[in-house]
């Protein structure tokens, strides 16, 4: 990562709305994410968390408002390929390509999008597979791996594009508790490396540990943005208090 002295935020969102027909999925959302900052988005189901982070790499284009990433205004004129080189994403269901081996999953985009040579891409992929702890699974196919291993591959695959921002859309929601520990520890490690991260999750302990700030959403609106210690001890709003009560009961 190059050292940036500028205070320009990595992500800047102003008055952003997203509609699905009549339904308002995002309602005039404003927030900034600084370089290297870790944001965790919390909120009940249907509050717009997933929609929010999907607008950040334009998998769901926003309808109103402005989105700026790394100083660039992102709209329908933006080359989606450039944008997605900059912003990586990991999904709840991994979305690995079942017809390709683990290694091929990782090198496809670097070769096709960044036009790396196979040797270069393979070296890169092996480095990230090492980092996510599954270097010896490179030649297996996704179906031969456990859920936790598959999610590690998905993370490695996204990292191979060397993005400046990583988006995680409930990466541990489909995993058993043991696998969650593994994936969370990888995300801890990534966080330490200083990559800008926006993560939708229900992992409270993880959120508390790594988040620089918590964005709490309800009904398409951002209800509050606070550091985790404040959020988990003295949330500003009743809505957040209710949510925490519900979550902590289990």
């Amino acid at each position: 990562m190059q050292h940036e002295t500028t205070d320009l935020p990595m992500i800047s969102v102003r008055g952003m709305s997203k509609l699905f027909g009549e339904f308002v999925a995002l309602d005039r959302v404003d927030f900034d994410v600084s370089r290297g900052e870790k944001i965790v988005v919390l909120g009940p189901s249907g509050s717009g968390k997933s929609t929010l982070i999907r607008t950040l790499n334009r998998i769901e284009p926003h309808d109103i408002g402005t989105l700026t990433i790394n100083g660039k205004l992102i709209n329908e004129k933006t080359d989606p390929i450039q944008l997605r080189c900059m912003v990586g994403m990991v999904f709840q269901n991994y979305n690995l390509f079942p017809h390709l081996s683990v290694l091929e999953n990782c090198i496809l985009a670097p070769m096709r999008v960044k036009h790396m040579s196979r040797i270069e891409a393979t070296a890169l992929a092996r480095r990230y597979l090492e980092q996510v702890g599954i270097p010896d699974q490179a030649d297996k196919y996704p179906i031969q791996l456990s859920g936790g291993q598959q999610q590690r591959v998905a993370i490695a695959r996204a990292l191979c594009m060397q993005p400046q921002v990583m988006l995680f859309d409930e990466p541990t929601a489909a995993l058993d508790p043991e696998a969650i520990v593994g994936v969370v520890s990888i995300m801890d490690e990534l966080a330490e490396q200083g990559i800008t991260t926006v993560c939708v999750t229900h992992e409270m302990a993880f959120s508390r540990r790594i988040a620089d700030r918590i964005i709490f959403m309800d009904q398409g609106k951002i209800v509050e943005i606070t550091p985790p210690e404040t959020f988990f001890t003295t949330p500003k709003t009743d809505r957040a208090q209710n949510f925490l009560n519900q979550m902590l009961r289990y």
Binding site: P80, N93, P98, V113
Partner: protein, 484 residues
Amino acid sequence: MISFFSFLPLTRHFRLAAALAGILVATAGLHGLAQAEPVPSFVQNGVLTICTNPTLPPMTFVKGQDVSHPEGFDIDVAQALANRWQARLSVITMDFTGLFPSLSAQRCGLVMSGIIRTPAREKSFDAVTYQDTALVVVGRKGTPSLTSMDELAGKSIAVESGTSYITRLGLINDTLVAAGKPPMIIQQYPTEEQVVQQVLIGRVFAFVSQDVELFFRMRQLGDKLHVLITPDIPDYHHFAIYLRPNAADQTQLQSAISALETDGTLSALRTKWSVTDQSTKNGAANVSASSMFDWNAFFSALTSTAFLHGALITLSVALISHIIAITISVPIAIVLNSPQKSVLKIVLEGYVSLFRAAPTLLQLLFIWNAVPQFFPIFREQWFTPFLATILALSVNESAYQVEINRAALSAVDPGQELGASALGLSRRDIYWRVIFPQAFRIALPPTIKRIYQFAKNYLSCVCYFTAGTSGCDTDTGCTHFCFY
């Protein structure tokens, strides 16, 4: 049906009608100049032009697809004549009914097309005999020879449909019935090849054919057949070359033929084309074999050139039309699977519904008979029945293939596209590298099943259709039957 040659089997041996046509059209150019020159007057500007209807192997027939280059005994005799007169040979092929009018109209100097010499034709044209022939009744090897046509009473006889044999057999039946005997049961089959197979498998007692055609066929069949009887039919003994009435020309042609006979040219050609009987005449020696099941007859039918040719057509039609169908169907399936509504989508939905619902045979007939009326380009020579079949079946099969593709594309998890686009892959890469490989594996089993089923069940009928419309000759045609 529509094809230029499709009527040929109907008229092939129908000499009487042609003779009448000849009388009607013939002009009375009887006063040819008697010239002392060795070259007859019908050789003009050093070119000997003959008219022929290439549908009678081995006399004149087309091997393969190129109708403009017939071959056979007649063509080789014409070449030998041309060589004698130091002329170049030009061959014009046409429908049988066009031969004598063309001769009258001086489009050709000679008609050489395996035509029987009859007094009726000689009223309008001069004729020179060059080859003996006869009608033959043929049975399976081991069947005892006959002494009289009366012995055929009550027996089943196969003939090629549309030939003059049917009329002749009808006349014999009349005399049989008049004598208080049961008539012969005449069964018609579309090609000579099929006629022969019926005898080989024992479905009919015998078949009727022309001796030269039989001898030629014997080359492929070995000695599985033998001639039961050669009935003596008046006016049915010789093949003749016809020319416009001109005594001097006739004499010169006669002497040229005699010279070719003397120097052994004709006998060499007879051997080349198996015009004379070269089979061993020991048919009656093996009587016991006739009632037993003959594996050889069954396998020789399966491995006959006609059957293998048909199988080749079947396979190539199935493969080529499916390759085209798959190519067309992929983009259609993508459009139909997209969530947006569009006019294109409605049109394509109509296309798929129409071609899935309409009977395949109807579509074939539509492409072959109706499309040329809308688009003149399809009336040209290149639009062969084979191409028409490929076109019709490609369109038809693409409609089915669209549904297979749609199912396969829908079966690929939408998360695949999401994951791939999140990695920055282009639309092209998303389809070619991620979605198609997965959809392909899903679509492969139903597609292969479809091709197999299609070739197995439908195409036997289709191939038959193709053969029928092309005026497919016995040597090149299919022996497929339509089973439904």
